[in-house]
């Protein structure tokens, strides 16, 4: 089943199958030691740049900053949700640690 993924309103949303699912302004814990010096960057999402699917995982590339050290920039692909039978299933992005995937093999 095909899924439609896009970034809307100039970086405000991830839309999955024409529903707005992931919004800027959330605070994420990233497992991405290469983003800044912090062990688990405490990352505020300011702009969504790109969205993609890798199997059943929906991931996004986002611009933002670590509120602990102030580093700004774009980490790797951050998982933001999953597909179950073509439906988007949220993960509790503000509570769980999100494993960031580096690399550009998924373009």
């Amino acid at each position: 089943m095909s899924v439609s993924l896009r970034v809307l309103d100039d970086g405000a949303w991830v839309s999955v199958n024409d529903a707005r699912e992931v919004s800027v302004s959330e605070l994420w814990r990233l497992d991405d030691p290469s983003f800044c010096g912090c062990e688990l960057p405490d990352f505020v999402v300011e702009n969504i740049l790109d969205v993609g699917a890798d199997g059943r995982t929906i991931s996004a590339r986002v611009y933002g900053q670590c509120i602990a050290c102030g580093q700004t920039g774009v980490p790797g692909w951050v998982p933001v949700g999953r597909l179950r039978e073509g439906e988007f299933v949220d993960i509790d992005r503000e509570r769980v640690v999100l494993p960031v995937r580096r690399g550009d093999d998924d373009e």
Binding site: W13, S25, N47, L49, I67
Partner: protein, 592 residues
């Protein structure tokens, strides 16, 4: 690869969106096929409708474009009536009630909680008095801004109003210019004070004089590529071109065509003309314009008036910094600028404004880029009675500097990009500062601009104190926070604020401003302005002067207001949202 937005635009865009919009309005919001919603919401922007954020589905923000900020007699009343009837939401704002009008930083009008089903009636009412929402949002010529007292000002260099109006008439609904790579913001200024704020627009026409065939000719110099958004603020750059008022439309059209052909349609983050200007530089820009888009020889720039610019400048150079107060017009009548705190006015007050303008002036209202309104054409003998009106107690021509200097954008109340609550917070800040903080002697202009994110709709980078939405943790809990910038302003030598202190929890910001002002007073030399003080102080020293601190100010909106369906609702949880709703406001249920 072209973006989704470009693909949608290539299918249906511009004027033709209207018939689809009216048809969906007829059939109801829920008849927009689910898999076409993203595309239609993107297109509706072109007709001034912007879908509100999550939790508020089926409700729209509606923008009405008022070129140069002019509302002709009779229009203000209709705006108030439309807001009264159609801009009421399912929950009340604790400061502004339900039903209000926002006067915006681009001299437009914004209404909220608009239902698609009401659009045909709303358009009919607006259009009956010559108002329109066309191109108020979307990728085209936006509302044209300028000096709001153009044609009335005693000292203006040229009356730019006919030029702004000609541009509006030429480029609204013009198929050749209706699908640009991104928004296109134009400013036309004829006055000596720089009130058009051309420096932060894509295309700026600025007052100038040029000797042509031995004759001193008044007209405009052209600057290109200003804008504040996305951590990439730019001042418009001088392209060394002078135009006469008669050439203004032709050359502006040529520049818009250059943007249409050369702007980046593959990446919306890189699409604004400021990025093309980064890439090309002013000289190449001029060459391409001359060679490919204009049929006659362009004049080089004339003598400008920038050394006299005072608007929003942070300099005490004798000119005005805003339009608040009572000022004589060229015709001997007066204009009376009223301070509207954060630009929001309830519907009853807006009706009063229309009545008062009618009774004492010509009925005309003008909107400024500082979110204020101006009653024009008041004869001298009516000034006293006008000042006795109750309306002027709330919207003062002589407000406290903290009230006068406050600007705030839309924020988490309605806006999808926002990170923090803005308008209500700025009202709370201004009131607390007025009660608790003394300004140094003689400081009458002190601008504090609050934007909920880096899009910078409140123009934070050109204020004495710039506030921008962020997040931080306080006692381990995520809370709304603000970055604090200092010393921005326009004027002869415009510069953007330095962001000296990051991520201050919102309840510590008033304390930070209080301490900063005390430190300024202590170190102030003579009667220098705050901006002058910032300019001569090291960035590191400035950061030390900010000193965030808890005070008696309490902030009820520390939590993630974006996670609510409406921050001020009694039950604010997403699950409690009535949206989406039918035209009559009843929730649309899945078995509908």
């Amino acid at each position: 690869m072209p973006t989704d937005v470009e693909r949608w635009k290539s299918e249906v865009y511009g004027n033709e969106i209207r018939e689809h919009l009216l048809e969906f309005a007829e059939q109801g919001w829920d008849t927009i096929p689910e898999d076409e919603r993203d595309a239609w919401f993107e297109r509706f922007k072109w007709w001034g409708l912007y879908h509100q954020r999550n939790g508020q589905e089926s409700y729209f923000m509606m923008r009405i474009g008022t070129p140069n900020g002019v509302l002709t007699p009779g229009q203000t009343e209709v705006v108030a009536e439309v807001a009264d009837e159609y801009a009421r939401g399912p929950a009340e704002n604790p400061i502004f009630g339900n039903g209000y009008v926002d006067w915006t930083t681009r001299q437009s009008i914004q209404l909220h909680w608009i239902k698609l089903e009401d659009i045909p009636e709303i358009f009919e009412k607006l259009e009956s008095v010559g108002l329109s929402t066309q191109q108020a949002c979307g990728d085209s010529w936006r509302n044209i801004v300028g000096c709001p007292v153009a044609g009335k000002d005693k000292h203006e260099h040229v009356d730019a109003l006919p030029v702004a109006m000609e541009l509006n008439e030429t480029f609204k609904g013009n198929d050749d210019h209706s699908n640009l790579p991104r928004k296109w913001k134009v400013s036309v200024t004829g006055c000596r004070e720089g009130c058009g704020q051309g420096d932060i627009n894509d295309l700026a026409l600025e007052p100038a004089t040029k000797e042509i065939d031995g004759e001193e000719t008044k007209g405009f110099n052209i600057r290109i590529g200003g804008g504040l958004s996305r951590n990439e603020p730019r001042l418009a750059r001088d392209i060394d071109v002078f135009v006469t008022p008669e050439q203004a439309a032709e050359v502006s059209g040529a520049i818009s065509a250059l943007f249409r052909e050369n702007g980046d349609r593959d990446n919306r983050y890189n699409a604004r003309i400021k990025f093309l200007m980064d890439e090309w530089g002013a000289e190449k820009f001029r060459n391409v314009l001359q060679e490919e888009f204009v049929d006659f020889e362009l004049e080089t720039a004339g003598d400008d008036l920038r050394s006299e610019y005072s608007y929003n400048s942070g300099y005490a150079d004798g000119g005005h910094s805003d339009h608040v107060g009572i000022h004589e017009q060229a015709d001997g009548n007066y204009y009376v600028g009223l301070d509207v705190l954060v630009g929001r006015m309830g519907v009853d007050d807006t009706k009063e404004l229309a009545r008062v303008a009618d009774e004492y002036g010509s009925g005309e209202i003008r909107i400024t880029q500082r979110q204020n309104v101006i009653i024009t054409d008041v004869p001298e003998e009516k000034l006293d009675a006008l000042q006795d009106e109750d309306l002027l107690d709330h919207y003062s021509p002589d407000p406290h500097p903290f009230m006068r200097g406050s600007i705030a954008c839309t924020g988490t109340e309605f806006c999808s990009l926002s990170i923090v609550e803005t308008k209500n917070r700025q009202v709370r800040y201004a009131r607390w500062l007025k009660e608790n903080v003394e300004l140094p002697a003689g400081v009458e202009d002190f601008h504090i601009h609050l934007s909920g994110c880096t899009a910078s709709c409140a123009q934070p980078q050109i204020a004495d104190i710039s506030l921008r939405g962020m997040k931080t943790r306080k006692d381990g809990e995520p809370v709304e926070a603000l970055d604090i910038g200092l010393g921005g302003g326009l004027g002869e030598n415009p510069n953007f604020a330095e962001w000296v202190t990051q991520r201050v929890p919102v309840d510590e910001v008033p304390g930070a401003i209080k301490n900063l002002l005390a430190n300024f007073e202590e170190r102030r030399e003579g009667d220098e302005t705050f901006r002058e003080f910032v300019a001569r102080t090291d960035e590191e020293d400035l950061a030390e002067l900010v000193e965030p601190e808890e005070t008696s100010y309490e902030d009820p909106m520390m939590h993630n207001t974006k996670r609510t369906w409406y921050p001020y609702a009694e039950d604010d949880s997403m699950d409690a949202s009535p949206a989406p709703t039918h035209g009559d406001g009843t929730p649309i249920t899945s078995d509908d």
